[in-house]
């Protein structure tokens, strides 16, 4: 068995309402990045109470992480229990309809009831505590409901400061304006916001489903999900995928990054950005020269075969080491 050395790659906290196929595919991109050791998927949380969608996201985690084994447990899905369940697209049920030759389902839904999920705040807290200092980041792909609630959780702001370096947001502001206002006002580490320009500029090619995805794994749950989401063929804007790519590879230069400033959100959901050196927000903008490369990278990452993580037992942090044995005096 292979053991890692030094710090592991940064832990990713992915929060979404999974209301777009883009936010679904972003989970695939995230695992593609993990497979290349650009990050580790710490947890996935959902900001609406929808068991079918949670079951799908949970199945995706199992698909990538492999069967639970000693020292390789699959964290439960964090799911908010208040609010509206929203629409349940056929994308979330289609993969469960596939069966093997012996009649058993290819993918099993393990989330049948609320108790099969976990409270998002508790998940954030528990899994942040397991990260090295400054070795994590949040990705928001949807309304800021969960993150806003987390800010009121006992000790959470301090944990976010200690354990994470930034939040990258493809935020659906209008879905929860108050939550977005709170997150942009109070999130205690820098926030990178996918701009409307970038959201419109990066388009995921639907044709890749029958090419790259099928070539990697004809049984990939994303094939059935993508095809069930909307009548094929279609492409889809990819702000969540772009946010995920930037979060794990901030230094690759895929996007232009604005100067520091402050995002302000009005009560009607309109967003404005004003530059200021003391601001802790930045906008991610498209870079026309990198556009093709970004799309190609997203397709490669999203369609990558699952890479089962090796067991990683990190060295004990210096300040947490057990006492050194006392030297025996002669």
């Amino acid at each position: 068995m292979q053991f890692g050395r030094g710090k592991p790659s940064a832990g990713a906290f992915y929060d979404s309402d999974f209301s777009t196929i883009d936010s679904v595919l972003a989970q695939a991109v995230l695992h593609g990045l993990q497979g290349r050791n650009d990050c580790r998927v710490a947890i996935v949380t959902m900001s609406r109470p929808n068991l079918a969608v949670a079951g799908f996201a949970d199945m995706i985690e199992r698909y990538y992480r492999g069967p639970a084994a000693v020292f390789a447990q699959v964290p439960p899905m964090g799911m908010r229990t208040v609010g509206q369940p929203g629409e349940t697209s056929a994308a979330f049920t289609a993969p469960f309809e596939a069966h093997k030759l012996d009649g058993t389902p290819v993918y099993v839904n393990n989330v049948k009831r609320v108790r099969d999920t976990a409270d998002p705040d508790t998940m954030f807290r528990n899994y942040l505590e397991a990260q090295y200092d400054g070795n994590g980041f949040f990705i928001l792909a949807g309304p800021a409901t969960n993150l806003a609630a987390a800010l009121d959780f006992r000790g959470m702001k301090e944990l976010i400061v200690a354990k994470t370096t930034y939040l990258v947001a493809a935020c659906n502001i209008k879905a929860d304006v108050k939550a977005a206002q709170k997150v942009f006002a109070e999130w205690p580490v820098p926030v990178y916001l996918v701009s409307d320009e970038l959201a419109g500029a990066v388009v995921f090619p639907g044709a890749s489903i029958d090419k790259e995805f099928t070539a990697a794994n004809p049984d990939s749950p994303f094939i059935a999900a993508y095809k069930a989401y909307k009548k094929m063929p279609y492409d889809t804007p990819a702000p969540a995928m772009a946010a995920t790519l930037y979060a794990a590879r901030p230094k690759e230069g895929y996007f232009k990054v604005s100067d520091a400033g402050t995002v302000a959100i009005r009560d009607d959901g309109q967003m404005s950005f004003s530059a200021s050196t003391s601001g802790k927000h930045r906008l991610l903008m498209p870079d026309a020269e990198k556009k093709d490369k970004v799309v190609q990278t997203l397709v490669e990452l999203a369609s990558a075969k699952p890479v089962i993580q090796q067991r990683f037992r990190p060295p004990v942090a210096e300040d947490k080491k057990a006492d050194a044995p006392v030297e025996k005096k002669p």
């Binding site: 439960p76 229990t81 409270d119 004990v316």
Partner: protein, 453 residues
């Protein structure tokens, strides 16, 4: 029956020098009780029975939730009491996990079990937090002779490396008075007996020798007081008192037998003579005294570290010569798993004996068990994987007609164990807003379903 005179709840039968025996709840105390506590409500007791090295979960968890049907294999011995118990699944101790501290799940899980604190990985600089039982003891302990009683059965070392750099203080204590103050358990039944029924101080060797020489029971020292009391009691109370004193005498005889047997086995053995070599016998003695202590309201809080994390105790009496801890690293080998299941069952069988005593002991118009919350649990679930979620947890007793028992409930995954502690503190009359890594109370234990919001 009430005889006119009201007997104070904290009445003792006192003897010359050595004895001070508390009394069970008698009818003659009823008016006094009503005056000193909530109207008509006997006190609630709370105990923790901690078993080490997790459980084989396929034999612990039923395949269903809701009302108990047939109990799973490990819990089978509790079948007669299933209407008095509630099984809670999915409780988690995040502070037992590594959280960057590396190996040492056994040291962490027992160290943090009642504190909800990530203990400091150290052999010399121990650091934990106050355990929740001691918060309760600090608040209500003055109402009983002993604020709390801490018991164990096999190892009370307080120093040394008991797990990958974790001090034995973490594995060998459940109760913590403060960050650096564990409360070591009493292992010796004789020491416990003398603490409960003596004058609060252990007997000196001379006193013990004198008592032994004349083969006198501790009850002999309180004969005068007993006769005086009996003359003021009605027939029901006299019968209760007689049964109670007989149970004390029975424990005393058990201890004497064990001491005699141990002398015959090996006069040079280094454990106290009162500690029986037989696990079941030792368990029975200790748990009988817990029941008596509860019955006499000597204390309302007990922690019992049945055996400690990482123990390699063998259970030859049930045909298992292998060490417990090595067996639990079974690597999914069926034979090792089966042996571990048998040990798990054996532990529960002993526990069931205690529950029977609690249930058959009457207190007012209920049983002592009805007025208690007896938690039986472990700090790990699957020991092979060292998992700190879905911790094996049952509560036996209704906690004063509170718990809706006779069922299995499932909390949401990752629900902190400390949430249960908050609820238990409420029941003990010591509400606090936050403890350990709690996120709120475990609501719904008194309702049809848990509050999963």
């Amino acid at each position: 029956m009430i005889t006119g005179k009201t007997l104070p709840r904290r009445t003792f039968l006192r003897g010359v020098g050595t004895a001070a025996i508390g009394l069970p709840f008698l009818d003659a105390m009823a008016p006094a009780l009503r005056a000193s506590t909530a109207p008509g409500k006997p006190p609630i007791r709370m105990a923790f029975f901690y078993v080490p090295n997790g459980e084989i979960m396929d034999a612990w968890n039923p395949s269903y939730e809701g009302k108990f049907q047939e109990l799973p294999r490990t819990l089978k011995a509790l079948e007669p009491y299933k209407d008095d118990m509630i099984q809670i699944s999915n409780l988690t101790h995040n502070t037992g996990r590594a959280l960057l501290d590396g190996a040492g799940d056994h040291g962490r899980c027992s160290g943090s079990y009642l504190t909800g604190i990530q203990v400091k990985k150290s052999l010399v600089e121990i650091k934990n937090g106050i355990s929740f039982d001691q918060i309760v003891a600090n608040r209500i302990g003055k109402e009983t002779r002993f604020p709390s009683i801490e018991l164990g059965m096999d190892d009370a070392r307080q120093a040394g490396d008991c797990d990958s750099g974790y001090s034995c203080a973490y594995t060998n204590n459940l109760a913590w008075r403060g960050e650096t103050q564990p409360l070591p358990p009493i292992l010796d039944p004789r020491a416990l007996f003398e603490r409960l029924f003596g004058n609060g101080q252990p007997m000196t060797p001379e006193e013990r020798a004198r008592q032994s020489k004349y083969r006198r029971s501790i009850l002999d020292f309180v004969t005068d007081d007993t006769h005086k009391l009996e003359s003021n009691l009605g027939p029901t109370d006299r019968r209760k008192l007689d049964e109670y004193l007989s149970s004390i005498r029975e424990v005393e005889r058990q201890i004497e037998r064990a001491e005699k047997d141990n002398k015959q086995i090996d006069p040079h053995m280094d454990k106290p003579y009162g500690v029986p070599s037989d696990f079941a016998e030792h368990f029975r003695m200790m748990s009988n005294m817990i029941a008596i202590a509860f019955q006499a309201d000597q204390t309302r809080i007990v922690t019992f570290l049945v055996t400690h994390e990482g123990t390699s105790r063998a259970y030859r009496e049930i045909g298992i010569p292998d060490g417990h801890h090595p067996l639990t690293h079974h690597r999914n080998q069926p034979d090792l798993m089966e042996k571990t299941r048998k040990i798990n069952e054996y532990h529960v069988q002993q526990f069931a004996g205690f529950i029977e005593k609690m249930k058959t002991t009457k207190e007012g118009d209920r049983s002592l068990l009805d007025n208690s919350m007896i938690v039986y649990g472990a700090g790990l679930s699957d020991p092979n994987a060292h998992l700190h979620e879905d911790l094996p947890t049952i509560i036996v007793g209704k906690g004063g007609n509170y718990f809706k028992t006779g069922r299995r409930v499932l909390a949401r995954r990752e629900t902190p164990m400390c949430n249960l502690f908050l609820t238990m503190m409420d029941r003990m009359g010591c509400p606090v807003e936050h403890f350990g890594d709690s996120t709120g109370r475990l609501n719904g234990l008194d309702a049809d379903s848990l509050d999963l919001a």
